[in-house]
């Protein structure tokens, strides 16, 4: 199969996946698309939205449509790391005729291929860090034994921005581990009507598997092969640098509202997500437009607002918008020519 054919197949597969998810999830097409970018790019996704917006359902449906092992962890304050990773338990040794016992590793829910970490901010940092370590390393270490997680390993965490009392906000360093942070918006009136129609009748049948484990892995491999031209990489780099309030190229809003900007992981996320976006649309290269499209989900959780930013209610999305306006994608001469052509 040629690269062109692979790209074509990937595009079709993603379209089928979207279609399958769309049969259950009403609207939220952007959210679905962004989640698929995360899946294809091989990163993890943090979903943030109010309760009842279908975050969990989305993940569950996605898991159903993919031929992957799904597990769900409901994060609570008393959830222990071992509840996530698994633990050694004392069991009767079947080989020992004398009835002796032995420790056997009991895998936790992290050993799924699509892991839903529901309300991740409700667990203690200790438990959160156990998950985040697995997300970064794609392995867990229990009692000195390292257990590699099966690929693909895709964590979808959800976060509830309300009812913040008794929650443990994810540290910025750990948020950085998520490739994308997707904001789940409230449905429109029409979408809500459709939701009501679907959820108050008979239960929907189980979704057919549209993408196998190998399919997902090949998508991820294909995504990594998508070439990126240097001007586009430079654009991503300029965007990230401009988000640093200490950088001379930063726009005024960044200098005023931000304490820290996106780092290297932010730039990596931009490129990876852009590659995924290009792939899902069946294109063989990344464009400036891809970078701009993925900028918000890739950068919004990597910027730490300062006092003024929080006091003035400046969201990181507004800052990303400002960055996209401020940072010119093309070289100045080409940009001028473009303006002249307009």
């Amino acid at each position: 199969m040629t690269f062109e054919e692979s790209i074509g197949n990937a595009k079709n597969a993603v379209a089928t996946l979207k279609q399958a998810v769309g049969r259950v999830i009403v609207g939220q097409s952007n959210v679905v698309e962004e989640v698929i970018w995360g899946l294809v790019a091989g990163g993890h996704v943090l979903l943030e939205g109010a309760p009842g917006l279908g975050k969990t359902l989305l993940v569950r449906v996605l898991a159903e449509t993919l031929d992957l092992r799904f597990s769900r962890i409901q994060f609570t304050p008393d959830l222990m790391p071992s509840d996530v990773t698994g633990t050694n338990v004392l069991i009767l040794d079947p080989k020992d005729r004398t009835g002796g016992s032995m420790f056997a590793f009991q895998r936790g829910p992290i050993f799924g291929q699509i892991v839903l970490a529901d309300e991740i901010n409700r667990a203690t940092p200790k438990t959160q860090s156990a998950l985040l370590e697995a997300m970064a390393e794609h392995a867990v270490t229990v009692a000195g034994t390292r257990h590699v997680l099966e690929q693909p390993f895709f964590v979808l965490a959800t976060e509830n921005p309300i009812e913040m009392e008794g929650t443990y906000t994810l540290p910025e360093a750990q948020l950085d581990r998520f490739l994308l942070k997707i904001m789940v918006p409230s449905p429109s009136e029409d979408e809500l009507v459709e939701v009501l129609s679907r959820t108050t009748g008979r239960a929907i049948d189980t979704q057919a598997k549209v993408l196998t484990r190998d399919g997902v892995l090949s998508l991820r491999a294909l995504c990594r092969d998508i070439p990126v031209a240097e001007p586009i990489s430079r654009y991503a780099a300029r965007l990230v640098r401009a988000s640093d309030p200490t950088d001379p190229s930063a726009p005024p809003i960044v200098k005023r509202a931000l304490r820290y900007g996106a780092g290297v992981r932010g730039a990596q996320s931009l490129i990876l997500a852009a590659k995924a976006a290009a792939l899902t649309e069946g294109r063989v290269n990344v464009s400036f437009q891809d970078i701009a499209r993925v900028a918000k989900p890739a950068l919004r959780h990597r910027m730490i607002r300062g006092f003024e930013g929080e006091a003035d209610g400046i969201t990181t999305d507004a800052i990303v918008d400002a960055l996209l306006t401020h940072v010119e994608a093309r070289p100045s001469n080409v940009a001028r020519e473009r303006e002249a052509a307009k």
């Binding site: 092969d225 070439p227 001007p231 063989v284 002249a340």
Partner: protein, 602 residues
Amino acid sequence: MRRRLLLRSSLSGASVGLLAGLAVAGVGWYVHHETLRLVAPALACTGVLVGALAGAKKRWSDDDIALFLDERLDSGEVIATARETENRVQDASNATEAEQSVLQRAAEVLAKADRKKTRARVFRRRELALPALVAGLVFAIRVPLRTIPVAHGEEGKAELKITEIRGLEKVARLSKASARDAAQRDRLDKIAKDAQQLKEDLARGIEKRDAQDRMARIKDALREEKLSLGSGDERSGLDAAAKTLESEDLTKEAGRALGDHDLEKFDDEMEKLANRREKEDREAAKKKLDEAIDAAKRSGSKGVSRALEEEKKKMEAREKRGALLRELAQGLESTEGGSGQDEDKKEAMDQVKERQRAFDQKPDDASAQKLAEAMGKALEKLTPEERKRLADRMRELSKGKKGKQAGDPEGAKDLAEELSTPEGQKELERKLKELAKEDDESEESKRDRNLDEAEDGAKDAEKDLRRHGEGQQGQQGQQGQQGQQGQQGQQGQQGGLAGIPIPGKENGGGGHHEDQGTGDHRGETAEQKAAMLKSRANPKMQRGAANSGTITVFSQGRAGDTANHRGTGDLTTVGPREVDAVERSEVPEEYRDQVRQYFEPK
């Protein structure tokens, strides 16, 4: 693509250059600087060059062009990616599948591309403005230079019309004045004719500067004429004669007057000497005058010696008259004291005495004439007896005082004879009346006086010119700003210098180094030699305009000329106030040597 960008850059540079040139041309037009206007096209050319150079320097790279094409063709940067891939992978067969796909997609995009869309735009607003800028520049270069407003109006060009001008008739009367010789006759006639002509022209109306020029010429000619005796080669004779006269206290003042060319005063001084009571003084004065005549002759100054000889003759005649009057007065005294003297006779005799005293105190011609007049009247009052007594007395005087001082014995004898007969008495009365009316003034003195009067007249006329000029200028000044000046500005563009119209001629040229005109200055105005030009000190210069009111005189520059003082014209001649200033000063005699040494040239 690059060619179009280079072309655009050049055109853009040309636009900027033209704009700058237009601004410079505008400034040039405003400040009346032709050279600046000619710089403008050069700036435009420089703009093209700079634009081309800038275009070449900012030449677009392949990557830039690829990005530009991606943008225009909306190809999602596939061309830029392919371009980079191509750079990285020299051989397409070595490219990965993904890279090959990119190259293929890019090729497809370019193959399908509309070529028009891939062209860079050559004409933007700036470039589209080129024709307008070129037209503007041409206009700015060709438009006539701005007429700089003349601050003081067209001073001197205003027309003067004076029907009655004072003084010029005094100058015109010189045609009737006596002349020393034929050459002076011609000169005086010319001065008189010029004055008359000026008077007539002023009545018709002429330019003020022309009137002033002619007036100044007349004044110069008069001044020159005043200095004509003993000028040039005869200067040494005049000096020698003056010095000779100055060497004697008696004739010192006469010598100074002669040295100053003040012939009227010289004549007055000689008159006083001739009428002096003491015969020794008269003789001494005559002797000095003889010496002065000799000195002038030795120096070869015929004119001076001739004038002095005439003065000597006059002196002798005056002396004779004075003596006669004094003798007769003395004789008349003897007729007094008789019985039956009436009041009229007494009064007449008192008047004779009074006039005699006045004549003794101030022995000039006027006093002598008054004495003669009084004597004539007194003689009429005498009875025959008294006349006989007077005749006897006169005979006594002729005998007793023969060869002595104060009197002319021959004259007294003649008088006695005349008085002895009634006819003689009548004749004496007639002579005395003639004496009272006799004109004893020397010809040089008369000429000098006539010239003085003419000079005074010229001064009066000049004042009138100035006064009328100011009055008319006040009225015409405002008109000049609005009316005349506007027209003259139009003419000025053809003439070469705005504000100086040269009728019938094209551009001026060949004058000042900034004069860029191409024509010549030959017009109706007569060609002026540089040596004839003269201007006042501290003129107000105005670019592109005539010097207002500063050029007042067109005359030959002469030796001794300064900005404010008219020179005498000859290197060997100095003005009356330029020598012996210390001697004439009020410095006390005992300090003069020190003062003279102080001012002595080293």
